[in-house]
């Protein structure tokens, strides 16, 4: 390739600006800064229709931020797809507004045996799937077995070390584990807990996603690729009395400002993933309301410390200062002004993050919320102690999407003062995925959409030779902590173990956590009953047009 961009001369004004900025920040800083939980914004989950006057019927249009993948709970891997599936496929368990797991198609929380290896789930009876097939334990078993064993399933690892699944009678399903696996309940409150009609599964097999049939307030009508997905009210749904809308059309609108423009013009009533750049304007619009919740996932930088043969393979030594010396990684973490960069790039809407444990969940603790403060002096000291020449040139691979690149640019300015010369290499997303897996990077800006159970945010990314341990990190101590935390069921004890894990992670810095997005959804005041909790799922099942606003 010819004419690669030359390095621009860095003039004196930059240094002055950054130094004075750094000085201002330092004056206000203590070594460990506890982030307020949650950040600067208060969550707004929306509310169910209580005594509001609503009308029956109408078609609600939701602007969806991307084209979902296959509408098959077993194979789907896009978090967007969950929005659509949530209207047509209920799960064994659901998350409620306070982040607690509550039964949905199950009738109670599972009973777990003393050794934690047998999990018994009581399920509903007397209800039917959208195609009229009876719902019972056998149907549940069929779906769970497909989630667990289908070759192309994206659920297998979420479900843990299951040995067998049995329907002991019409109302009970029993899962046997090879060893205790605490995260199973949370997994069943997500796609792994979605139950598909056995009749439809038998008829469609791998093509189930072309016209999914489940239990839900709505049933699938059709999908026009790149355009829309339409669902209609299911008269067979067990709680049909509380379903008001006739139809929901999910219209695919990938551009954030197009979604915003459509909300303002009234062409759509709901839209997900509103850009932080637009949300202030929409918030001021009296015809619109903003829903927001903390993100369970994170964005961060993976440092390649041992991924030579590919993620999931035993790590090998890499001979760069970043890879071999944890002091250099710690220096990098100290050189990041998380607060300023995230506030600038995301218009004060997202929160800095320093750990994989979301502060909004019950597994968060003072230890897991702790955050090393921005300290460029400390960074330079550590670099000097490690004997590296300053500035240390490091290369960061970033997906070539706007938000990612803008954050990387802010980061570049931030870490310069700490002694790092950050080179940004934008990479197209699919290529990035391949590079991430094969270990073809020094630093990579990446992220994870997050799970309610902290195990889903840690083990597969940090445990030695785990499938998504892209940096090839390996620490026997961390492996042990994470394994123990996954096996016990007591929330407080788990929180404490995860706190210890975070401490270790912040010392070793295999992943430098940067920020947590917020789920931002906006809806029109013409509709009521739109809800979104901390899982970011936009729930439209029980929504309705306010009386006199059907339009």
């Amino acid at each position: 390739m010819f004419l690669r961009c030359s390095k621009f001369p860095r003039g004196a004004p930059l240094r002055v600006a950054v130094i004075s900025l750094a000085a201002a920040m330092l004056a206000a800083c203590v070594p460990i800064q506890h982030l307020s939980v949650p950040g600067g914004h208060t969550d707004a989950y929306g509310a169910p229709i209580s005594n509001q006057q609503v009308s029956s019927g109408g078609t609600l249009v939701m602007g969806l931020s991307g084209d979902p993948d296959e509408l098959d709970p077993t194979t789907s891997s896009s978090s967007l797809t969950r929005n659509v599936l949530s209207a047509i496929c209920e799960k064994l368990y659901d998350t409620n507004a306070s982040g607690k797991i509550v039964p949905q198609l199950a009738t109670a929380l599972p009973t777990i045996s003393g050794d934690g290896r047998t999990v018994t789930i009581p399920v509903r009876t007397g209800i039917v799937f959208a195609d009229g097939t009876a719902f019972n334990a056998k149907a549940v078993r069929t779906s769970l077995w497909r989630h667990l064993t289908s070759a192309t399933s994206a659920r297998t690892s979420e479900m843990g070390p299951i040995d067998s699944i049995k329907a002991t009678d019409a109302t009970h399903v029993v899962l046997h584990f090879k060893r205790a696996f605490a995260p199973i309940t949370a997994a069943l409150a997500d796609r792994a807990g979605m139950i598909m009609s056995p009749t439809a599964l038998a008829a469609k097999g791998d093509n189930f996603g072309e016209s999914p049939v489940c239990v839900g307030p709505f049933k699938f009508v059709n999908r026009v690729p790149q355009t829309s997905i339409t669902v209609t009210r299911d008269p067979l749904y067990y709680d049909a009395a509380h379903v008001h809308l006739d139809k929901i059309i999910y219209r695919i609108m990938p551009d954030a400002n197009i979604r915003a423009a459509n909300l303002r013009s009234g062409d759509i009533q709901v839209a997900d993933t509103i850009s932080p750049q637009d949300v202030d304007v929409l918030d001021k619009d009296p015809k619109l309301k903003v829903l927001q919740s903390n993100y369970l996932g994170y964005r961060g930088i993976v440092i390649n410390t041992g991924n030579v043969d590919g993620a999931g393979k035993p790590p090998k030594a890499i001979n760069t200062p970043m890879a071999r010396d944890s002091r250099v990684r710690a220096a990098f973490a100290y050189s990041i002004d998380r607060k300023t960069s995230v506030n600038t790039v995301f218009n004060n809407w997202f929160d800095p993050a320093c750990s994989p444990i979301a502060p909004s969940t019950q597994y968060a603790s003072a230890a897991s919320n702790a955050c090393p403060a921005f300290n460029p002096q400390r960074s330079r000291q550590l670099l000097a102690a490690a004997g590296v020449h300053v500035p240390l040139k490091v290369t960061l691979k970033v997906a070539n999407t706007q938000d990612e690149l803008r954050y990387a640019e802010a980061l570049q300015a931030s870490v310069a003062e700490g002694g790092f010369d950050l080179q940004i290499v934008p990479v197209e997303y699919s290529t990035l995925l391949t590079m991430r897996k094969s270990g073809d990077f020094e630093l990579m800006q990446t992220g994870w959409s997050g799970r309610i159970d902290p195990d889903g945010n840690t083990t597969s990314f940090l445990a030695t030779a785990a499938s998504s341990n892209f940096g090839g990190f390996s620490s026997a101590q961390l492996d042990d902590l994470l394994a123990r935390a996954a096996e016990i069921t007591d929330t407080a004890k788990r929180a404490e173990l995860y706190g210890q894990a975070v401490k270790l992670i912040q010392r070793e810095n295999p992943i430098v956590y940067l920020y947590r997005m917020r789920n931002l959804t906006v809806y029109s005041t013409r509709v009521a009953g739109v809800e979104m909790y901390s899982d970011g799922l936009v729930r439209l099942g029980k929504a309705a047009f306010v009386s006199g606003q059907e339009g």
């Binding site: 084209d67 355009t227 303002r264 013009s265």
Partner: protein, 318 residues
């Protein structure tokens, strides 16, 4: 004539096969893996392997190509790796939108462009020419997507004249269809109108100053008749060429407009399919676009003979 047609068809087939090979090898040479894109952010290696096997990606390239070509000949392009839907269904849903947008935009471009071109040629050296020329220069110089974004911001959001985005099928409600498609077609048509205006003007000026037209005038033919009989007829040939060149491009080139107005056309499908390494969709899209281009050009060439019998089909002058 028949021999000529046969010859053209044979050429077209060669181009199509070449295109299919280029794209087939090309997409597989790209870094990135559809199985990885399909398996999502946290996939385990066994799943990825299973997906690769399901997609047939574990086989050798020639075997994969022959399988693809065999199926393609029967009209079966397989299943999208990104959405799990049949590729035929995806193209069937998006291609009509793109074609409608292209034709609508082209209709606007031809109408506006030829009118402005004729005006500029007839009123040579006076203000209408300056206005028409100035407009087309400006239209050629401003980025289309920028105009589109501004139009949404002012015409749709602030004034509410047009919908900000969306699409209603022509078969469903023609009036709504027009309501939704007019602004995108206008935006897409502007730059093409400019090209047509310039071509029309140039060709009209050329014709109107030609000797045989002067003679006709001298013989007392009215200027309206002169413009119609000689000027327009000649410029029609030029304009047809331009339409041919541009329409093919429009099928593939509406991407930005489709994206700004969230139109469910094939342009967006094209972009997304490459981003997600959706091999079956990319292959089908390239074949469809190539075929569309070929067909349009064949039609244009045949049109020449209809407009001007003096042109023999085989001797198309460039």
């Amino acid at each position: 004539m028949l021999r000529y047609l046969f010859h053209r068809l044979w050429q077209s087939a060669v181009t199509l096969v070449l295109a299919s090979i280029v794209v087939f090898v090309g997409v597989r040479a790209l870094p990135g893996d559809p199985a990885l894109a399909m398996a999502g952010e946290n996939a385990d290696p066994a799943t990825i392997k299973a997906i690769r096997a399901q997609l047939g990606l574990d086989q050798s390239l020639p075997v994969q190509y022959l399988r693809f070509a065999g199926h393609a000949l029967t009209g079966d392009f397989g299943k999208s790796t990104a959405t799990g839907m049949p590729v035929n269904q995806m193209i069937g849903a998006t291609l009509p939108v793109t074609i409608q947008l292209a034709l609508y935009a082209m209709a606007i471009a031809v109408l506006a462009g030829m009118t402005a071109g004729v005006v500029a040629a007839v009123f040579r050296g006076r203000w209408p020419e300056w206005a028409a020329n100035g407009f087309s220069l400006l239209a050629l110089s401003v980025p289309t997507f920028w105009v589109g974004i501004l139009a949404i911001l002012y015409l749709s959001v602030q004034l509410g004249w047009f919908p900000a985005s969306g699409y209603v099928a022509l078969s469903e409600n023609p009036l709504r269809w027009m309501y939704y498609l007019t602004l995108p077609a206008l935006i897409l048509g502007i730059s093409h109108a400019a090209v047509i205006q310039r071509q029309t003007r140039a060709s009209m000026v050329g014709t109107l100053t030609a000797d045989f037209v002067r003679t006709a005038r001298a013989k007392g033919l009215g200027s309206g008749a002169v413009i119609l009989r000689y000027g327009l007829r000649n410029s029609l040939i030029v304009v047809t060429t331009v339409i041919g060149l541009q329409l093919g491009g429009l099928i593939a080139g509406g991407v930005v407009t489709e994206r700004i107005f969230s139109l469910p056309g094939m342009g967006k499908l094209t972009l997304d399919s490459v981003f997600t390494r959706d091999y079956p969709v990319i292959q089908a899209v390239v074949l469809v676009v190539t075929a569309a281009y070929i067909v349009i050009n064949l039609l244009i060439d045949l049109l020449y003979t209809a407009i001007d019998p003096r042109i023999r089909v085989s001797g198309r002058a460039q």
